[in-house]
Amino acid sequence: MSDRPTRRERYERARRRRSVVVATVSTVVVVGALIILIPLTPGWERVRQAFFDGDVFVETFPGLVEAFWLDVKILLWATPFILLVSLLVALARNTRSPALFPLRAFAVIYTDVLRGIPVILLVFLIGFGVPALGLSREWANPVIWGTVTLVLSYSAYTAEIIRSGIDAVHESQRAGARSLGMTSSQTMRSIVLPQAFRKIVPPMMNTFVSLQKDVALVSLIGPVEILRQAGIDKATYANFTPYVAASLIFLAVTIPCTRLADWLLARQRARTGATTIA
């Protein structure tokens, strides 16, 4: 075997080099056009002042980062509960025993109702409604009930994702496991669920990114998290720069998550042998 590249390898390398050059040139042209053309628009000066004010950015950024910590805490509390509740609902929906029909019915109603109501309405209903029943100050805390709302709403979504994952495992897997003498729950636990979870990682990551942004809805019932802090700063300075700053902080968290989701998806495609056609 010689070290010299084959003709085919040389050809492919040339093609790759060519596409890199084309991509670079087109990116430079597009970005350059945007940088040159946008400031030429008549309203640019006002827009720059209202959305990209350096002083306002510097003033408000630390407060926004501090407020974002509340979002992170809510997210970290909500995520494990969402996984737990949605798994239970998905399993309830997949039961097959006739005696468990009420459980299945409950699971269907749960997903239908909670998925059907906009999160923003649920936040108000639960966040103000439940504490008004007469809870003590400690337990009336809107952070608690805002988190509960997110768990209820998002677990309805993820329950459907998990169910679709379970359904995507071929019936022969189940049949094979049962024919080997496994019980129904053993089959579910060690044959169906492991395969199902592998299939649903990408959509779950997608939902997780969506949840990161919806945490901000908790601010509607009082707690000052990043979006609310940005709103307060916006009103103080009559300037939208705090929203831009808040967007950057969100992106700093969501972009790594979306990249991770993409990477997981790519890995899964490679593993299952799906080919990528350019």
């Binding site: 002042q49 209202a50 100050r137 809107p142 009082g222 000052v224 709103g231």
Partner: protein, 335 residues
């Protein structure tokens, strides 16, 4: 028609529950309008204005004009141009002054959400200022905007905007303010038995859990002047603060005094204004001004009108007429 109780019923004796009186007035005011009517009236009013504006194009035929006496002397639009537009610079619609307020606009600033009638403090002030600038009758058009619309870059949909905008230096970076037409103070609304009840100084309020509306000076007042031990909760509107009071999530909410009396009298059953702060508490006075586009040619003209109204006592008279009920809550001292 404003449906007020008589003066005698309303007289406030020091130390008595002044709120009951306000309650009656306000409730009467609110109950007079059915929800459907509230929605329809502004639509009709706007429709009528549009029709009237179109109508005045055909050479001053004022047959469709029932409200403006000025129209019998001259067509409304020429009247506007003659005395106002020439002095003040161009408005967004030629010969017409477009005034914006909130959607909906609240009592006591605008009665029945119908600013066209001039009923309510801000409606009356706006029409008085417009009249000083030379715009009367059909030459005044009302529109509605949110807070954000008023400060966003680009062309404005109004000549001037009033919805209790507090004048601050930071905001002046992006928009023009007129001279102030009202100086407000802050007040506390709480349910019976609240931890804030009986407070006479700021020190009594340190352990109170507060709520306020986003973007208001009331919120800044809590964080900068009262400085309670616990961070305040923040809501989009009065209704959120109300729900939080009822849900036992906050002890008290802070509003400007007229709003506080409205909220306690009409919106939150069982609540009362348990105290008000001096207008200069915290070293800053909260003054309301008209918002105009940054660098608007009209600003100086609005200022001149407000100066005139202040000097000739008309502004004071309007304040007395629409906000005279709003005195009497116990004063909480800052030191």
């Amino acid at each position: 028609m404003r449906g007020r109780a008589s003066e005698e019923e309303c007289a406030v004796t020091p130390g008595s529950s002044f709120n009951g009186c306000v309650n009656n007035n306000l409730k009467e005011n609110i109950m007079r309008r059915s929800p459907a009517l509230r929605r329809i009236i502004p639509a009709i009013a706007v429709g009528a204005l549009v029709l009237a504006a179109c109508g005045s194009d055909d050479d001053g035929d004022s047959a469709d004009d029932t409200s403006a006496p000025a129209a019998t002397e001259a067509p409304a639009d020429t009247a506007g141009e003659a005395s106002g537009a020439v002095d003040c610079g161009a408005t967004i619609d030629d010969g017409v002054l477009t005034i914006a307020t909130g959607e909906p606009a609240f009592y006591p600033w605008v009665i029945d959400d119908a600013p066209e009638t001039g009923e309510g403090f801000e409606a009356a002030v706006a029409l008085a200022v417009a009249a000083e600038m030379g715009y009367e009758g059909d030459a005044v058009v009302w529109t509605r905007t949110t807070f954000d619309e008023a400060i966003q870059p680009g062309a404005k949909s109004f000549d001037m905007n009033l919805q209790q905008y507090s004048i601050t230096e930071e905001r002046r970076e992006n928009i023009d303010f007129s001279l102030p037409y009202f100086t407000s103070n802050q007040a506390i609304v709480a349910l019976e038995g609240s931890a804030a009840e009986g407070a006479t100084t700021i020190a009594d309020l340190k352990d109170v859990k507060f709520g306020a509306q986003v973007g208001t000076t009331s919120l800044a007042f809590i964080t900068e002047v009262i400085q309670p031990n616990e961070e305040p909760f923040v809501y989009d509107d009065n209704v959120g603060a109300k729900a939080a009071l009822e849900a036992n999530q906050i002890d008290a909410a802070v509003f400007d005094l007229p709003t506080a009396l409205y909220v306690s009298g009409v919106e939150i059953e069982g609540s009362a204004v348990i105290g008000q702060f001096p207008a200069d508490a915290g070293g800053t006075t909260d003054q309301f001004g008209f918002v105009l586009e940054k660098g608007s040619a009209l600003t100086s003209c609005v200022d001149a009108a407000i100066t005139t109204l202040t000097e000739n006592g008309e502004l004071e008279a309007i304040t007395q007429e629409w906000l005279s009920d709003f005195t009497g809550a116990p004063v909480i001292t800052v030191e």
